[in-house]
């Protein structure tokens, strides 16, 4: 009985890990829907957003290491601490500026290229942003604290202890994960409402369907792309805050992008609900597989590849994912 309850705990934790994946996958879906680009840089965007947030909050001098190296100075901090909300606002503004620059200097020039070229361009962008971010804020691990409570939630632990008798201590769930879930739900609902009921949202859906047709009804492709990349940037910021609070702001954050790929394979590249459900399935699947099979029989650390194997299976049997559009070939 206790084993079963621990299994449930694994599932719930998996659900919440899944929410985190979904947050990142969301950014991908948005950009892919509107421009057909798979933005490999989404993970690095999350990292850069988080780094900027911490940097602004703690009053870091941008490019401090470079300036000190070149000029022999010793600048590190401005000496002030900025309120978390203001810092988040500043970071959001930076991501908007980033979206504008990306559209202006990269997307505009690659309009008619095949998707694979665009994908490789985003790989280039990812490397560029990584080097740039490291140069600007330093590559050491930073703690990100915007006031979201962390650690095991004792209230839930207490309240669920009765389920398992005396050997069971109650479900151990991290408060941060709970916050993340709530925030993700709010974010997704906002996005869905936005795309269904506002003029810009409609324009986004038009562009996702057919660039030419959207142009012909007077929608400015470039403006839409800036908007989409800005939204993706904000989503990246939220994802960066959540992941960064949990595990610190460091390079491995950008590898989340690689985890998002299987999420999208499951959910379909063009579906917002698909990104959520795909993320949840991967989150649960990973944890459950490791719990039931990976740790006892395979030596553990199967989380590294389980998501991909699951995605592979989907690719073979249902390439468009659970919710994506079927691809019809025409000659």
């Amino acid at each position: 009985m206790v084993e079963f309850l621990y299994g449930i705990e694994v599932v719930i934790n998996g659900l919440m890990a899944g929410v985190m994946y979904s947050l990142v996958a969301l950014g991908f879906v948005l950009i892919f829907k509107a421009s057909g680009i798979f933005n490999y840089a989404q993970g690095v965007m999350a990292l850069f957003a988080a780094m900027t947030l911490v940097g602004v909050q703690e009053g870091q001098v941008p490019f401090a290491h470079l300036i000190n190296s070149v000029f022999g100075t010793q600048y590190h901090h401005f000496g002030w601490h900025i309120n978390a909300f203001v810092a988040i606002a500043v970071a959001a503004l930076v991501m908007l500026l980033f979206a504008y620059l990306v559209e202006r200097y990269i997307l505009k020039h690659l309009v008619n290229q095949e998707p694979i070229i665009l994908f490789m361009a985003t790989i280039g962008l990812a490397y560029f942003m990584e080097g740039f971010g490291d140069l600007m804020w330093g590559s050491n691990i930073k703690t990100l604290d915007v006031g979201i409570p962390q650690g095991g939630n004792f209230w839930i632990e207490e309240k669920t202890a009765f389920l398992g008798g005396e050997d069971f201590y109650g479900f151990y769930l991290d408060t941060l994960d709970i916050y993340a879930t709530v925030i993700a739900i709010i974010l997704v609902s906002t996005l869905v409402l936005f795309s269904q009921y506002t003029k810009t949202g409609r324009a986004l859906r038009a562009v996702a369907d057919d660039h030419q047709a959207a142009l012909s009804v007077g929608i400015s492709l470039r403006r839409i792309w800036v908007i989409v990349w800005s939204i993706a940037g904000i989503v990246a910021l939220v994802a960066g805050i959540m992941w960064g609070s949990k595990s610190g702001v460091q390079f491995s954050l950008s590898l989340i992008a690689l985890k998002a790929l299987p999420v999208l394979m499951l959910g379909g590249f063009t579906s917002i609900p698909g990104a959520i459900i795909g993320g949840l399935i991967i989150g649960i699947g990973e944890k459950l597989f490791e719990f039931l099979i990976g740790a006892p029989f395979l030596g553990g650390a199967t989380e590294n590849w389980f998501a991909y194997m699951l995605a592979l299976l989907f690719l073979v049997f249902r390439p468009q994912g659970l919710f994506g559009e079927k691809i019809i070939e025409r000659v």
């Binding site: 070229i117 962008l125 560029f128 073979v316």
Partner: protein, 358 residues
């Protein structure tokens, strides 16, 4: 006027099809090859071998392999790192299981095994395209690295999990292990590159190369005019993985000597190879080599300039490396998707007419 085609008429199709149609190019190539074999070994030292020449030769082989798959046949692969690991570990098992077996055979065995594994992971490409395929190759990358980490049989149950290359000799000279001289390792790798580049060039200019390119450009039309897409993709995966596996085996046995799989063959290596063929030029053997040279030399140059001359901290050079690489990738994709090789061809065209403008 020096570099001209005028008056150099081809009177046979064979002459038209040769790799270096311009005489100057041909002479230059043979001179370069002669220098590589007969001059360099006398001047080479440890630093040049390990920092520049060996990585260039070995990554040259690997990038030709990846270019065959991605540049010629249009199948994206992000799993090259994992495939190099397959080559390396196969080589290791062969070296330890058959101590008397010539090193070249162990390396070739690495290539063949990788070809088989590559074909296996490439089978989904029959139904999946574009970056869906990239996901499959990513899966291969992570799975293979995990496997070589976790399954002790691969590293002969050693406690460290690392594999190291026992000493092997050829014609009496040590090629691997601590006694190997830079000249010996250099010549060994050079020979592999020359032979494999020759074979690669022939494959890409023949009918199988045209089948690959047809699949890349328009796979449905290709099938309708008679290209078997299954065979084309499988051969592309097979040949490409062979090259990549050979390169991985060489990285392990000759270059590094001892290897830890996540660090030596992780996803960053997959990206490194991808960048080589993008910058060098997709769909070009010369481009693969140029790209390999560029990606090997650039960090060395950067470090020498920034740290050596300017005295900046070493991690700043690393950050700039990322910035420059990322920027160049985007730049080449926008301006010249056929990379440095195409820029070189354009320069040569201008040179043929120089000093006349047209």
């Amino acid at each position: 006027m020096l570099y001209r085609e005028a008056g150099d008429f081809k009177v046979s199709y064979q002459a038209d099809q040769q790799t270096f149609p311009i005489r100057f190019d041909r002479l230059f190539f043979w001179a370069l090859l002669a220098a590589a074999y007969f001059v360099v070994p006398f001047f080479i030292n440890d630093y040049w071998a390990n920092a520049v020449l060996l990585p260039f030769l070995i990554y040259g082989v690997a990038s030709i392999g990846l270019n065959i798959l991605t540049g010629y046949c249009g199948q994206v692969s992000l799993g090259s790192g994992g495939f190099m690991a397959v080559g390396a570990y196969t080589c290791y098992k062969m070296m330890t299981a058959f101590p008397d077996l010539n090193l070249a055979f162990c390396i070739l065995a690495g290539g063949v095994t990788t070809a088989i594994v590559g074909i296996m992971f490439g089978l989904p490409s029959l139904r999946i395209k574009g970056f869906y395929l990239a996901v499959v190759t990513l899966a291969a990358q992570f799975f293979l690295v995990w496997m070589f980490n976790k399954v002790p049989w691969f590293y002969n149950y050693s406690a460290t999990g690392m594999i190291s290359s026992p000493e092997r000799t050829m014609f009496g000279y040590a090629i691997t292990g601590p006694n190997a001289t830079p000249a010996a390792t250099y010549l060994f790798c050079l020979t592999f590159l020359v032979v494999l580049a020759f074979l690669g060039r022939n494959l890409t200019r023949g009918s199988v190369g045209r089948k690959w390119m047809a699949i890349r450009d328009m796979d449905i039309a290709a099938e309708i005019i008679g290209v078997n897409p299954l065979m084309a993709k499988i051969t592309a995966f097979g040949v490409s993985s062979f090259y990549v596996g050979v390169a991985g085996a060489m990285i392990f046995s000759v270059y590094l000597g001892a290897v830890e799989v996540t660090e030596a063959f992780g996803i960053q290596k997959s990206f490194l190879l991808l960048f080589m063929i993008i910058i060098g030029g997709l769909g070009s053997i010369l481009g693969s080599l140029v790209g390999a040279a560029f990606m090997v030399l650039m960090p060395v140059l950067l470090k020498n300039i920034m740290v050596g001359s300017f005295g900046w901290a070493i991690d700043i050079a690393a950050h700039f490396e990322f910035i420059i690489i990322g920027g160049l990738i985007v730049f080449f994709l926008i301006v010249e998707p056929h990379g440095l090789a195409q820029l070189w061809r354009i320069i040569k065209e201008k040179m043929r007419l120089w000093p006349f403008p047209h």
